[in-house]
């Protein structure tokens, strides 16, 4: 993975040269054991990944959605950068003010500054999204790769286990589990979603690994005496990981929406946590006379989800050579 990132950053620095395809790249695939580490020939730069990266940088939708995601992540990490107001310092006499120069997004029922609330609300959404996505991706890649590559009884048992978990609808299962848990935090919500969602990623990974396992270059690497771990790490994973990355990007948006839904239903995060789902839930009763209470968290929530979906779509298009 670090190698991928290096490759990507090298391409980013503009040092990308359209190297002749074919010979060198093929050789590097077939003769991994004979090359010292880090001495990859020039041809390797024209990999699927560097091509995809080039494609992505030229795609305006990918750039705009990445910028917005960056903004929301900044809001989540250092909310103080955007507002000096303390979202919990509320003045009940200032209840339900409309947006103004003083309070950009107005104030909520308790007189808290709504702009500060919206900024601070990003943290819950982004944390849950990132935690669940990372958790399911790591679990999915490790388990899926092992199951797909080795097969056998472990694979069969795992497939049945994932069938069982997949039989439970995501939101319904999360509601059932979360009602059991008394103190619900970002971590518990993320953990529950992870528990219910890992099989989906395992399935995707497993099927692409099975597809890759029997490719000629994998057989060649084996014939040259590469061990199983090396084959998986150097040959199978880089070629089978693309679908998981695409699905994970899109899922990040979906998980953010699910977290908001659970908080809205009253089984996700609870006060004094600040989250867009909770804000929308509170806005529900007051929406008719104070539409701004729904508008701002709803807008931020939707645009964040939208950005991840659009970015995921762009990554998929960039990674799919058929579309070029």
């Amino acid at each position: 993975m670090t190698e991928q990132q290096q490759k990507v950053s090298r391409a980013d620095a503009g040092s990308f040269v359209a190297a002749p395809q074919g010979g060198a790249a093929l050789e590097a695939e077939v003769l991994p054991g004979l090359l010292p580490a880090g001495a990859a020939p020039e041809g390797r730069r024209a990999s699927l990944w560097s091509d995809a990266w080039r494609e992505l940088r030229r795609n305006p939708i990918a750039i705009i959605s990445s910028l917005f995601i960056l903004l929301v992540v900044l809001m989540a990490v250092v909310p103080g950068l955007f507002t000096r107001q303390d979202p919990r310092a509320c003045e009940i006499t200032l209840s339900k003010l409309r947006p103004s120069g003083e309070h950009w997004f107005g104030t909520d029922n308790l007189g808290c500054d709504y702009f500060a609330q919206t900024i601070y609300g990003a943290r819950a959404s982004i944390s849950v999204g990132v935690l669940v996505t990372l958790g399911t991706a790591i679990l999915g890649i490790l388990i899926g790769a092992a199951a797909g590559y080795y097969g056998g009884i472990a694979d069969a048992l795992l497939s049945r286990a994932s069938d069982i978990v997949l039989g439970i609808p995501l939101v319904l299962g999360a509601i059932v589990i979360l009602t059991v848990i008394r103190s619900r935090t970002i971590f518990t919500v993320a953990l529950v979603l992870m528990l219910l969602y890992w099989p989906t990623v395992v399935r995707i990974m497993r099927s692409t690994v099975i597809g890759t396992r029997n490719m000629d270059y994998v057989q060649a690497a084996k014939a040259l005496g590469a061990g199983n771990l090396r084959v998986i790490r150097r040959h199978v994973l880089p070629n089978a990981i693309a679908p998981v990355i695409v699905v994970s990007t899109i899922n990040l948006g979906i998980f953010i929406a699910v977290e908001a839904t659970l908080s809205y239903l009253g089984v996700g995060l609870s006060r004094p946590a600040i989250s867009w789902g909770l804000m929308i839930s509170d806005a529900q009763r007051l929406f008719r006379s104070f539409p701004h209470l729904l508008l701002f968290p709803g807008l931020f929530l939707s645009v964040t989800v939208l950005s991840f979906i659009l970015l995921g779509d762009a990554v998929r298009d960039a990674l799919d050579p058929k579309l070029r």
Binding site: A161, I164, V165, L172, G173, G253, L294, L301, I309
Partner: protein, 306 residues
């Protein structure tokens, strides 16, 4: 074919047992004493508590409880809630509304989703295509509860086009059905669009055009049938999840359906009701998956199961 169906049915059994046991264990792991919750402020006399515990098998180990529950279930007995009302009665009262809602949503999803996908897929890059692409991705990114409750206020309260909440008429189900269908509708449109566009580039389509067939026949007979395979898969699986996904929609519009019931039962620890409804949902979900797999073979003659 018959043997394939049989094998798949047999495979369903362990999955069914595993999933229902998981749900059963989770629900009964809810801390707190349901008997005490039932009694409220004034505790019940000890003998009554004993009697109730005995009746609901609350003192048995979990696996034994599950076994007894399943033994009753296969005989059609879903047990009773803590007020003594049979769960099957509750379900009989709630299911019809949810089924009506899901079917209405399903119809909307098929008609509008397919139509939008077709119009977009036939002319990639056209104005309609862009409208469909942008509107579907926007619909997908707005969480259902935000959409539902915005539409409820706008169309229901402000402009009074639809009833605000469910009032027992079909008209009252229309707006909830649109909200429930929205997400799947967007997926159907996008799926139809991509597969149609992909298949229109296929060699056999070029051959059909070269033979001089009219465009209607090329699209209608040659392309559409192949393009619909992934769409049908999605639709089949989706009918199951529409019913499970009605929790939020039924909550917003106050529809007394199965989703509303299961959510309230979870909050009030009515374990038997929760397990009963979730079990029924799991069965629907598993069977819709099975039907989709069988439909594959019908739609695509290249796929044969032995």
């Amino acid at each position: 074919m018959g043997r394939y169906v049989l094998r798949r049915l047999l495979q369903l059994i362990p999955v069914f047992i595993g999933t229902t046991f998981l749900i059963f264990a989770l629900v009964f792991a809810i801390p707190g004493d349901p008997i005490r919750a039932l009694a409220g402020d004034r505790p019940l006399p000890a003998p009554v508590q004993e009697e109730l515990r005995d009746r609901y098998n609350l003192d048995d180990p979990l696996v034994v409880q599950y076994g007894k529950y399943m033994a009753n279930l296969v005989q059609g007995d879903f047990g009773q809630d803590f007020r003594g009302r049979p769960v099957s009665d509750i379900m009989a009262e709630r299911w019809p509304i949810t089924i009506k809602l899901s079917l209405a949503a399903f119809a909307i999803e098929i008609v509008i989703g397919l139509l939008a996908g077709l119009l977009a897929g036939l002319r990639l890059g056209s104005f309609i295509d862009n409208v469909v692409r942008i509107s579907t991705v926007v619909i997908i990114s707005i969480p259902v509860f935000v959409l539902g409750f915005t539409l409820q206020i706008l169309l229901g309260v402000k402009w009074e086009i639809f009833p605000v909440a469910y009032n027992g008429t079909f008209n009252g189900l229309l707006l909830p059905a649109i909200v429930l269908a929205s997400l799947s509708l967007a997926y159907v449109a996008r799926l139809t669009r991509t597969t149609l566009a992909e298949n229109l580039r296929a060699d056999y389509v070029r051959t059909a055009v070269a033979k001089g067939l009219p465009r209607r026949r090329v699209v209608g007979v040659h392309t559409l049938r192949n393009s619909l395979i992934p769409v049908v898969t999605f639709l089949g699986v989706d009918l199951g999840s529409l019913m499970a996904g009605a929790i939020v929609t039924e909550g917003i519009f106050n529809i007394p359906g199965i989703g509303n019931q299961v959510f309230r039962s979870i909050l009030s620890q009515e374990s038997t009701v929760v397990v009963g409804i979730v079990t029924a949902l799991v069965v629907i979900y598993l069977f819709s998956n099975l039907i989709v797999d069988i439909l594959y073979a019908v739609l695509d003659p290249r796929i044969r199961y032995d």
